[in-house]
């Protein structure tokens, strides 16, 4: 092990705090923004906070399973982005807007 590696000078709790802050920023964005595309971006931000925590735990514990879970989270994020953006484009064709407040008229 490299003696001046980050693992000796930095506790994992700092990564926990950093990921918590990023996750809460993403949540704040989801709660405050009305644009559906920005909403999807905030969800990506929250997913990345979780990814960072997975990688931190994986590196500190020395088990590569955490990094593989990051792969699967990225797969889900990519699928979600593709389908979500397709839905937004379709709604934009009908309403000429991406305001989530208008999406409740999709009944029926």
């Amino acid at each position: 092990m490299n003696p001046d590696s980050i693992f000796n000078s930095l506790d994992i709790s700092h990564y926990i705090y950093l990921s918590s802050v990023l996750f809460c920023i993403g949540l704040f964005g989801v709660l405050t923004r009305r644009n559906a595309i920005v909403l999807l971006m905030c969800i990506e931000l929250m997913l990345n906070a979780v990814n960072l925590l997975f990688v931190a735990f994986s590196s500190y514990i020395g088990d590569s399973a955490g990094q593989l879970f990051v792969f699967f989270i990225m797969v889900v994020a990519a699928a979600e982005a593709a389908v979500g953006l397709a839905i937004i484009v379709m709604i934009y064709r009908n309403t000429k807007s991406t305001d989530v407040g208008l999406f409740d008229k999709l009944k029926g």
């Binding site: 980050i6 709660l31 514990i61 792969f71």
Partner: protein, 183 residues
Amino acid sequence: MLLLGLPPAFLILSFITILCALYVVTNNNPVYSVLALVLTFFSISAHYVLLNAQFLAVVVVNLIVYAGAIMVLFLFVLMLLNLNKENEPLIKTGWFVAATVSAGLLLVVLAAALHRSSESIMQNPAENIGLVKNLGKVLFTDYLVPFELSGILFLAAMVGAVLLGKKHSAEENSNSDTEPSEK
């Protein structure tokens, strides 16, 4: 000061990450939000390098898949839809305050719940687990079924996105003066 003893690389990267993330959620122009999100992903990749997750960070995954593919997709959709600052929908002040309070409360709860949790974690950092040889070995032995399932999920997402994004041209020609009916 609590933060002074930390390595400067971690401090600077965390500062950039949080600053860019705040810019993403507070900026009213969606294009700037996307660009700030790309910067956030770059700094998270730098965190991965610090954590010895080299393959995940640099070679393929985070930079190419996230900062490359997904964010370019967002940028294309934003520019195709011609959204700009003038027609950006805004939220009421009361809702803004409520959202700030609830996000701050969640942060307090998370920090309190995870405080001193690192004492119960067995720390055994190994240098080579982030290399592609090691990751590939685990991915194609222990996680083979989830890997195949994620392929199926991708196929379903691709078919769904194409089907949703496709214009129903025959339908629009036949009843262009009536309401577009559900297929």
